[in-house]
């Protein structure tokens, strides 16, 4: 077990790689009643074509990672929620583009709950019958999101930006795609992606690192996993252009919801450069469009944006795009006004005071996030899967210069690679 101290944020991590390849990190939080544990696999909705050990690539139906997540909760003995409930733990799971995460939060019986978490995720139990039964439930989940305007406008934008990259496919798939899922495909995805060497266990809360490591070590020693070679994931080349400059969706909403974004096309970056670029871009966007920027106030005064206006930047090795917008009375006017403001700022550069203030705000936001075990576990895992370290962000934020932000300001906004997604009453 190695010890990693981060005096700047007053935290200490303990880390160990188990003989089967499972990586475990423990963050003790003194005085906390609760323990929060996440068990994550590097496997999400975008992993729809892959091969192991240089074997032949296989393609799987859309939504299968999410389907698998649902099915893991079923054991021959019944529903695993009941086991967690008997042990006073609340359990859950979620699937994102690039990971599937199983979690629990509890204040008592931590060893029993940890064993349950490890055991149910490492024990698939799929039958023709239980796979069939799940389809009705997931179809209702898909329908629920179909009625959700925020979800539709957000995923509508990603769909408009990407031609082939599977990020544009709904995480849950469609009613049609999930009908193709059977227990055989579930097992082959499971065996590939739930190998311990592809997984990461993070535990934060009122725990003792030595005890936790011993428990995990013993638990893993009781199970056998055949060694597995590297997993190759295949993505077809993505064109630089956007798929559809304007995507309209009709739903009964009070005001149009409008999100637009810029797609970047670049060579894959190594993890540190990727992380730095992401932080610079977020800082740049907040300084330019945040709630204390002049443009925000002009647009609010002109009734073109509301408190829902926001921005984000998402990037990984093979995609990068921004998302900007919110509710508006006039999507086209909003974009026109933002374009004018962005082009002016590109010429003048960001305001120095505003940039420094935004940096302070980001540092404060980062430190506030470290109060929340849930946020730490989620963010730590996200960064870990990209080869970065959440607890090293503070000095990174501090070192970002306005020149770097201005450079990103000038390269990110390429109006030929912009798409807009609008959800409104009238759209057809």
């Amino acid at each position: 077990m190695e010890t990693l101290a981060y005096p700047g944020v007053m935290e200490t991590l303990y880390r160990e790689i188990m003989p089967n390849g499972l990586e475990v990190v423990v963050l003790p939080k003194e005085g906390f009643s609760k323990t929060y544990a996440t068990f994550a696999t590097r496997y999400g909705s975008i992993d729809n074509r892959f091969a192991v050990d240089k074997g032949d690539p296989i393609s799987v139906p859309d939504g299968i990672a999410h389907f698998l997540e649902h099915k893991m909760f079923e054991e021959p003995t019944g529903d695993i929620f009941a086991t967690f409930a008997s042990q006073g733990a609340s359990a859950n799971a979620f699937t994102s583009f690039d990971r599937t995460v199983y979690l629990f939060s509890a204040t008592e019986q931590i060893p029993a709950n940890l064993e349950t978490l490890l055991d149910f995720v490492q024990h698939p139990y799929f039958t023709d019958e239980n796979v069939e039964k799940e389809k009705g439930i997931i179809e209702q989940e898909i329908n629920m999101y179909r009625d959700n305007a925020d979800w539709r406008v957000y995923f509508g934008l990603i769909d408009a930006l990407y031609h082939v990259h599977p990020i544009h496919i709904d995480i849950a798939g469609t009613a049609e795609s999930i009908r193709q899922i059977d227990k055989e495909t579930l097992y082959s995805c499971y065996e590939t992606f739930y190998h311990p060497s592809n997984m990461f266990l993070f535990i934060v809360g009122g725990v003792k690192p030595l005890d936790v490591m011993e428990l995990v070590r013993n638990n893993q020693a009781r199970k056998t996993f055949a060694p597995q070679g590297p997993i190759a994931r295949y993505f077809d080349p993505e064109p630089a252009s956007v798929k559809q400059p304007r995507k309209l969706t009709a739903l009964p909403v009070s005001q149009p919801k409008c999100l637009f974004g810029f797609k970047e096309h670049r060579e894959p970056l190594e993890p540190n450069a990727l992380l730095r670029t992401e932080l610079i871009t977020k800082l740049m966007l907040d300084s330019l469009l945040g709630s204390s920027s002049p443009i925000y106030h002009e647009l609010y005064d002109d009734n073109l944006i509301s408190d829902s206006f926001g921005h984000e930047f998402n990037s990984s090795e093979d995609y990068a795009f921004s998302v900007i917008g919110g509710e508006t009375r006039d999507p086209d006017l909003l974009i026109e006004r933002l374009r004018e403001a962005i082009e002016n700022t590109q010429k003048s550069g960001l305001n120095v005071q505003s940039f420094e203030r935004t940096k302070k705000k980001k540092i404060g936001g980062y430190l506030r996030m470290l109060n929340s075990p849930e946020a730490i576990a989620s963010e730590f895992t996200r960064y870990r899967f990209r080869g970065a370290d959440l607890f090293k962000l503070l000095p990174l934020y501090e070192s970002i210069t306005i020149e770097e932000a201005n450079k990103r300001l000038r390269e990110h906004f390429n109006w030929d690679r912009m798409a807009v997604s609008i959800v409104s009453k009238g759209a057809k």
Partner: protein, 427 residues
Amino acid sequence: MSKSQFQRGQLHRIRLHVLPTQRFKTFSISLYAGLPLKEETVTPVALIPFVLRRGTAATPETIAFRERLDDLYGAGFGFDVYKRGHSQIIQFRMDVINDRFVSSTTPLLSASLKLLGEVLTDPATDEGNRLRAKYVEAEKVTLRKRMEAIVNDKIRYAAERCIEEMCHDEPFRLHALGQMDDIAGITAESLTAMYRQWLSQAAFDLYVVGDTTLEEVKQIVARAFRLDGGEPSPYTSTPVESTPGKVRTIIESMDVSQGKLNMGLRINTAYGDDDYPAALLYNGILGGYPHSKLFLNVREKASLAYYAASRLDGHKGICTIQSGIEIANYDKATDIIQKQLESMRSGHYSELEMSQTKAMIANHLRELKDSANEMISFDFNTVLSGRERSADELLQQVEAVTAEQIAAVARKVELDTIYFLRDGKEE
């Protein structure tokens, strides 16, 4: 386990509640202001925080006000308007990091409380001490858009419509944000008058959790809030109302893919009552968790829904059920849910249901202590209900609840309203 460690004090009209702790990297501040929920005042009162957050006398321009927050290392600042029992509550919330993590020249706790004091007692005004007309007009638009936007989230819309129908002859039918038709008539003059009345009548509670003391907070607040003398206003506890009679069924059409099925139940038990812990168990066994009857029977056994759950509102004494289903399955789902209510009434709860539900509630009550804001919200329940009961005490009471006590609650429960939001097509 220890009792709640909030230190209590008072400064003029504000009750102070301070929890000194070094566990967090932040100071968490909440200011609650409550008034009785009334048709005549609900809308202008809801508008007050929207206008106050635009600026203060010292920093009247909104952009300068937001910059002040950024300078406090991006202090979180927000507000919420909601209803609890028969009160309309406005909550201002601030979160600021503890100075020891950064090289700050201003003490962040006192700077934050100073800002909050200005927001509450020294707002941006035009001449004649009138709230800025520009902000009043702009925030009227924002408030109207907020009300209109409720329909955008169909799950929330259906839940609120169900309560509105269920409480159609009580103040609780009102939305916390007020009524659309009342917005246009509000002027800077009328809102200023309402603001002054609110300051002099609302019940104020200020909470601070972090590395500080009651004495320190009291000194800062004395300087930062421009307060008149007087005593804090109490909350009047709500008598639980019941309108027995036939179950009302409301079906509404809209362009939706999925039907939203909601039910409203009168539980005839309130937060301050002795049988409230039993009501918590009633809700937990019925639909509070993934091991509960609703989840197991509507979702796992019948595959009818992705979500099927119940929620308890102890301050109003009601329990609501919500589920998203295929429109054609309305009868089937209603039937299954009614069977679960019947099974609750019959008083047969398995040992396992009892122990699982107790364990889940206990876990929730223990977890509260790891979140400053959750500790604040929980403690505020005691202020609201007038019943002193710490999380530890409630936990012990929950552990002691018997099946017979839950059955006694179940026998008092009445199904009041069924609300279904479906598509526009006829069957």
